[in-house]
Subunit: 147 residues, 12 copies
């Protein structure tokens, strides 16, 4: 399977950013974790602090779809209707992942403007959440993305 | 590992209830799915339409802890602060699972009064969500439950 | 016709509870009133203070449907999404009845979380409301339950 | 008995207006239905798209009361405090009827600014709701209008 | 001076309507009271249950202004932005009068959508409020209407 | 084409009303402007301060449809659910026009309770907005009215 | 008659404070205006920037009542529940006066936490409002203070 | 005196549950504390995780009243309108007790839907709150329950 | 023990103020009640209508602490963040007492801006509430004030 | 005339994105449509998924103004105060265009944070909305941009 | 320059009050700090727990203006519209200073009802904030106070 | 000291943008002002209209910290949780500066989603605010950034 792993603003600092909340593993560790755990699948990794770059990458999946997207939009989760629109027009599974439990932090983190157009949402399991996201795509690949 | 699979109100009707949303698999199918996929683990299955029964079962884990709980509180998700309190006093991982994508339905379904005291939340992946919940407990058993 | 008359918490006290609001007739009087008025129909009467008992009884109608339900959920009207879900999965007519005019009392009584998935709602006519509820089921039995 | 059947804005189009919601029967059918079902009672039928006309007719009942009013205020239900005041000063029973289930449609339809000063409210039973409204007035004519 | 006394919906019933709140004096009494108290001034009295009639009368003041308006919009106070617009385009003083203390009744009565474009507001003094309103116009005729 | 130009409360005062906001052109100027610009089309012009008159005219289009409606509901825009219902039952294009930019004035002017059931909304272009409205109907006459 | 004229915070600056809003007349002018206009009545004038001083003066009216109070609480209008309580326990008429039209300024000025327990409220007529307040007390001295 | 001590969901775990908040004393300790402190009074102790069980016990007091109720509804405090109704129909004193200071914790804990129909509320004094509750009943037994 | 009994605005009128709500006992009665019931303790009594006087007295406890404070802030309860700050910086127990049941009156009375930084809150037991407050301080003197 | 046509995030996918809502015409079609319809005018077309790129282009118009801007900010409409600021500092006409009727979709789409500083807003007419926008600029070029 | 340093309720306790938030320096230290840092300027220092005293001092600046005011209103910041009015009528610069970062504490601290009529606001820099406030007045003395 | 001066969207237009609000000085003037006033310090100046560019620059400070940041996020202040996260992970002082008084303009400008994780906030002093920001960093460099 071909899966896109998309990370939004500030996730480049993973491992150094507030390790009490986000752990000490880096994006590099995440890449090794995923490719190690799913050796038969192909991953494309993209992290960007730019909303537009993330939107453009998702737009590209219209012409050249992959088998699914595991996306951690970072803080854009809470206000980027542009990302929401970019997800809404895809027909492949898109899983929203959050490293921390967004329900157990500041009030603004609980609201995702994107989740409603994703297949599902996983939060609170550290970077293992990405593994669960990939697993979810593989298990239910036949399911339609929720509208 | 010993894991408690807790299901709340109306989940006894799984498979017959609005199959467009909840699928056609029953709680029996879920039991078979879990025990088939994780043959080395022990599961206790409990479904109840009674809030008090669920609270009491969770209370029992204080004296006799298990390795984790995968819980779908059904509609109690949205108002049962009693269930929240029962989860909050546990120190083992508790994963909240929802079959449908709660962000893509009626507004009241988006708010969980329980998620803030769980380890994490998984929604939108059909009954596969329970598999992911068990997986999450196994992978990160060493992690502390979020407060 | 076979009709289920479901009464929720505190309705067992009918006749003694705040008679200025709820009148002096008891649940026994209601049973006599209904069977007297509709001698050719069969009624099942169930009152419970337990949300779960009411949910379970409604679940039973999936396998063994009746011709309709007249339900006064009592105070559960205002928060029991579990009852809502139990009604939503039925395809027979369900009428929500309130003895008092819920629009003319405390603000919280005006909101029903269940009415949206019932066929209709009748409030303000004392225990005559149950008669009107049965009448409604009989008259429009062919109508589909609103979604 | 003498009963006033009052219909507000757009109800003149009954039968042609969104039949999926409001059915195919017209106001003429309603008149025939009521006089057929209650041959011993006298009905006055008034439909108007003008709030003021409805208010003025209700004002007339102060000097020359009838035995009750069955009123479908149409969309005025949601904002006409003038109609509310006109109902509040009557002492005969006034029943608010809605053809569709106002709890199962747009959010604004759920709020009635008038219901609090009516005897009761009936919604969701198609034009049969008017029959139930008349029935309600006959059954409980002795009851005081709620304040 | 020439002053327009404008009364909105249901004020035709003054004297019979909820006398505990509105007193027992009628519109006729009000006319006699005003002309008796201010014999040198000319009054035009208009009561209507129709929002449009009130708007149209106010529109007429653009071409043929008078010295002021004392207006009790009745329940239209709380939602008629059309009346507000009709007042806003006048340059003569307009006084909003309420018979009862609108701050001491139902919550919806406290909000006037019109007062912001009137010269001022007087409430709570029974029909004497109209006297005070005329007095206010006379005393400060030179003041500009608030914007 | 046959197009109905509907104007609501206070628009009869166009040209004299707050010219800083609404300009100095009158309804008569508007009629000349439209018939001059679109000589091959037929226009019916109706202005009323009465909500009911506007509703009744729209009701008339069910039996005798025209090719479209350009409607400026004036202040009724913000609360007349009766007008909304009258528009909702039409299948011809209805364009909501506002002379001023409703987003740049008082907060209450920003909310239209009618726009959701119109084809589209145009605001801020003075009386040229009516020209744009007619243009819009002509260009996309084949498009379905939004629901 | 003996009437207390109570002025709250910042009203000592009347005449110098934002004359565009509050005019150029001072508290001294107000005293002369009132005693000139009502030569047969006795006035007590009290202005204080201290909430407690105003409360204490009102408390004094329990033992030694006067014939009425005309009170401009200044900005305390919007938050002083202590003043509200002090008014609520009086049985003589209390009139709330505001110099400017509180509905035509900042949103916070529109809400009075005191008006609900006064006899009535007068706003928007400059310092003439005090004259109207005294007039109101004289005219309806027999009326009970609203609760 | 005969006093009912009612405890709601999760209070069975007292002493083990989050001792930083709820202390280390158990329900057994509470029983000993109360009977030791008030040796001349009779107590009935009931704890249940079931809302319905609590409602039913309170219903029983209609027929067989006691001298008062000290009730800690646990998390049901925040949503159980059924418990509220069960309290509202009693005429004996009912005291709502909370072990922790509900104003100093999560926002949802500050709102009690039951307190408005109790005699009074005591919170923040640990299990001593029950002692104070009994004391309150004894001291003011003659007082009427607030409505 | 040395305990400060602090009373806020309008409590000087106790016994005369709305006796239906606040009873007929005066502050003098309260003093006698407390010193009679707790003869071995020393009380300081302070009532003031001035927020600043209350704040200053509480500030004095930093240098010269007593064993506790029983405080009825009167209407300041609902808005005096200054009192809140003055309480928050103390480390001795502070009990907030209300004579009436603040949950059973106007909506604004239900919110205390101070309770969150007190040890606990007691409301609804008339002036006996002060006795319970003293009792509470004595019983749990060793407990830390909640933050 | 020289007019800038600005398109925001995801509008590059026009024609492929949810054609049921946005139609099947592409940005290329739009360019041909505009240049075909207005052969004497010059258009600059810019689409970007980057908020910053759009802001920068608008900034450029300060030094080198054009005759107007027709702008579809896409989802940025709902949160980009940066775009709002960039528009607010221009003095040429700026027209906000939306392809779909933003009042007939999700609630968040109804709010534009930009419209208040544009000349006007056009929504619901498909890509014809751009034609209307250009027309609007041409017709009223002399009008000042609303503030 | 002559500058007034105004401190509100509880700031007399500076240095002892919650030193983790407010530091250990006292008002005396602040005076020494300011006079040491700005030896050529004259300062008047006033701290009061009384809202009225602060208002009165500000009123005095109308007749005898100084060069600016640095004001920390303490908790009055959040509700004293009386202070707001007293600031609004001054034409000299007024700087609002907060010792702690009011955006990083309880929600109620974030809202200042006074800041809108000050020149500017400085928060979060400990007692150095007063230095910055004086600096701000000196640097921009020529700037007009914001309205 | 090494200090980063960060400016967000539209601040490149300083001097030309609404000079009534933002003054006539440009970013170039600001650079000269800062380097002139603090000749011994080193400044890095960065302005960008791109949220991502600002986030990335702040991320760079984790590895290579400077002595502080003075940041004017422009309109991103009101919605960029991504910037907030980027600030939150720094341990050096970050000062949020606004040129205008954000409390005296549109309501949306009053809310900063970033200030809670900055050291402090300065607004209303024109470009002098940057000077004050640098001063603040220098004075209290030893203080910890607020969390």
């Amino acid at each position: 399977m071909k899966i896109l792993i998309l990370n939004g603003p500030n996730l480049n600092t993973l491992g150094t950013r507030e390790p009490g909340i986000y752990g000490t593993q880096t994006l590099g560790d995440l890449e090794r974790l995923l490719t190690g755990k799913f050796p038969d699948d192909t991953f494309e990794f993209l992290q960007s602090n730019e909303e537009g770059t993330l939107v453009t990458r998702l737009n590209g999946l219209i012409e050249k779809p992959m088998d699914g997207v595991v996306m951690n939009p970072g803080a854009l989760t809470h206000y980027s209707y542009a990302l929401r629109d970019a997800v809404a027009m895809l027909t492949i599974p898109v899983v929203e992942v959050h490293i921390s439990n967004i329900h157990a932090r500041e009030a603004f983190r609980e609201k995702s403007v994107i989740a409603a157009v994703c297949t599902g949402q996983i939060s609170g399991f550290g970077i293992n959440g990405y593994l669960l996201g990939v697993e979810a795509i593989k298990q239910q690949h036949y399911l339609k993305k929720s509208t």
